[in-house]
Structure formats: structure tokens, C-alpha cells
């Protein structure tokens, strides 16, 4: 179950409301390979097969925060193209997108490649999944660094500010997933794992019946 909260996680904005060229770059964090949709769905789908409560909680909460980041990215893109005319759309090389979607939000990368579930993995091995997630956070961090360079080149300090917020969240998530990885190693180094149906220290005994 989820409940919508009617506000952004961060007071994001854009200086220009007709800069489709910048929007075209930023949209990759909406529907690109290392974007927020991929991040959110990856964590929310991995959580079902996690063996320890810390991992289930971290994946649920970080997966939920990524949805809030998706909304921030969408808000930036929406506001950057809001007042653009067709000439500006064409000048930005965004006419292919415009032909398919007008100014509506759609899950694509900067070159218009649509989102695919092949961007993410859910492997069933918690150690493998946590390595995937730590790598995903680093890839997202790198992408935000490139986008910050681009926003700076456009001189849109408000977009840069919002991207910097999103950038630092990737670092925090990487840290939390690293801690989950350590907790998983602790869990698997205990005796009971050698017996597949053995006692699980995190489960209330009654729940087994």
C-alpha cells in the first residue's frame, strides 16, 4: 500500500520555462538506464526475497524515495518545456519526441530510447542484488554529475540546485545499501544457514506454524 503525499520532496524549480534542450538531457533520469524509475522498480521488486528485516525495510523505503525523485525529475522536465514553442522544440532536436508525445512526460532516455525492464535485475540472491544496487547508485551519481555540468553550461542555477540534491541522495543510498550488504554477510555467516529450513532468528517462532 502506498499513500500519495501532495508535495515534492525538495523545492525544485527551473529558471527557464522554455529550455527543451536541457529537458532532453534531464529526461534520462526519468526513463533512462540509470534513472529514477529503474531505481524505484528495482528496489521495490527485490524486497520480496530478502531474508532480513533491515534489507526489506531499506529496499521499501529507498524504493519509495526514488519515486519521489522521479517526480522531481518530471517536474524539472515539465517546467523546462512548458513555454517552449515548436521552433524551440525543433532547435533542441526534440521534434521526434514531440511528434510522439507533445510535451507529455514519457519514459525515455536522452535519445528517445524507451524504458525497458532489461535495465534492472532481481536475482533472488540477496548478496548479488545488493551489489547490483550499489552499482546502480554509483551509475546514477555519475549521471547526475554529467547533468550538473550540462545544467551549468545552460546557466540554469535552479536546475543545478535540484540536481545537486538528487546527486547527494545517491551517495546516501549507496551507503545504506553497503550497510545492508554487511548485515547480509553477518546473516549468512551464522550456523543456521547451512540448514535450509532452519531456525530464523528474525522470525517469531509462532509465525512458522
Amino acid at each position: 500500500m502506498w499513500v500519495y503525499q501532495k508535495m515534492l520532496q525538495y523545492p525544485a524549480g527551473t529558471v527557464s520555462t522554455c529550455n527543451p534542450k536541457l529537458a532532453k538531457a534531464i529526461i534520462t533520469q526519468y526513463g533512462g538506464p540509470d534513472g529514477e524509475l529503474a531505481a524505484s522498480l528495482r528496489y521495490l521488486t527485490q524486497r520480496y526475497t530478502m531474508p532480513i528485516p533491515e534489507a526489506k525495510a531499506a529496499l521499501t523505503d529507498i524504493g519509495t524515495e526514488e519515486l519521489a525523485h522521479m517526480e522531481i525529475v518530471a517536474t524539472l522536465v515539465y517546467n523546462l518545456v512548458k513555454d517552449a514553442n515548436v521552433e524551440q522544440i525543433i532547435a533542441a532536436g526534440m521534434e521526434g519526441y514531440y511528434a510522439d508525445h507533445d510535451k507529455a512526460l514519457y519514459f525515455v532516455n536522452g535519445d528517445g530510447v524507451p524504458w525497458t525492464a532489461a535495465y534492472i535485475q532481481s536475482k533472488g540472491d540477496p548478496i548479488t542484488d545488493m551489489h547490483e544496487n550499489m552499482a546502480a547508485e554509483q551509475k546514477a551519481r555519475s549521471t547526475y554529475e554529467y547533468l550538473i555540468q550540462i545544467a551549468n553550461a545552460h546557466g540554469d542555477h535552479a536546475v543545478t540546485d535540484a540536481l545537486r540534491f538528487l546527486w547527494q541522495r545517491e551517495i546516501v543510498h549507496f551507503q545504506r545499501f553497503g550497510e545492508v550488504l554487511n548485515l547480509l554477510h553477518d546473516y549468512y555467516s551464522r550456523d543456521h544457514i547451512f540448514e535450509m529450513r532452519g531456525w530464523n532468528p528474525y522470525k517469531v517462532p509462532d509465525a512458522e506454524k
Binding site: 503525499q5 501532495k6 508535495m7 515534492l8 523545492p11 529558471v15 523505503d61 517526480e71 546516501v172
Partner: protein, 90 residues
Amino acid sequence: MDTRYFEMLRRIMELQFITLELNLFLDTHPNDERALCDFKAAQDALMQAIHEFERAFNPLFSFGVGHVENGWNWICDPWPWEINWSQRRG
């Protein structure tokens, strides 16, 4: 739109950033007493700020979690993507 609307919303964002960050920390450090204490203090302030906002304007949460007081104004503009915070700061 009332400038208080934006000021109060910003305050809620600040407080919720603290509770969100401590929430994630506590997920991997569930026995950290100091973090839990900080979380509770921030949560009290956040709940108070949300309560004041919802009484003055509109619910912040759907499905009955938010406080409905001034008619069904859940549907009222602006929605989050319609507020350009850069333009608001001037």
C-alpha cells in the same frame, strides 16, 4: 496563492528531510538510541507542521491519512509539479 502556503510547505519539506534521512539510517541501525531519539523529536515537529498546514489549506495525504477540513479540496491546484520553486524564490 497565499505566501504562507509556500512557506509552510517548505518547512514541512525541511522537517521531512530529517525524518526520512533518520528513517533510512534506522533501517540499518535499528538499535541506535540517539538516532531514534532524534527521529522522534523531528517527527513531533513534522506532525505539528503538517497539522497546521492541513487545517489552513488542503490535505497533504490521500486515502484518509490527511486531514480533510475545508470541503473536498484534495483536488485543488496547485499540484506538486505546478509549483516552480525557482520562480517563487524570485
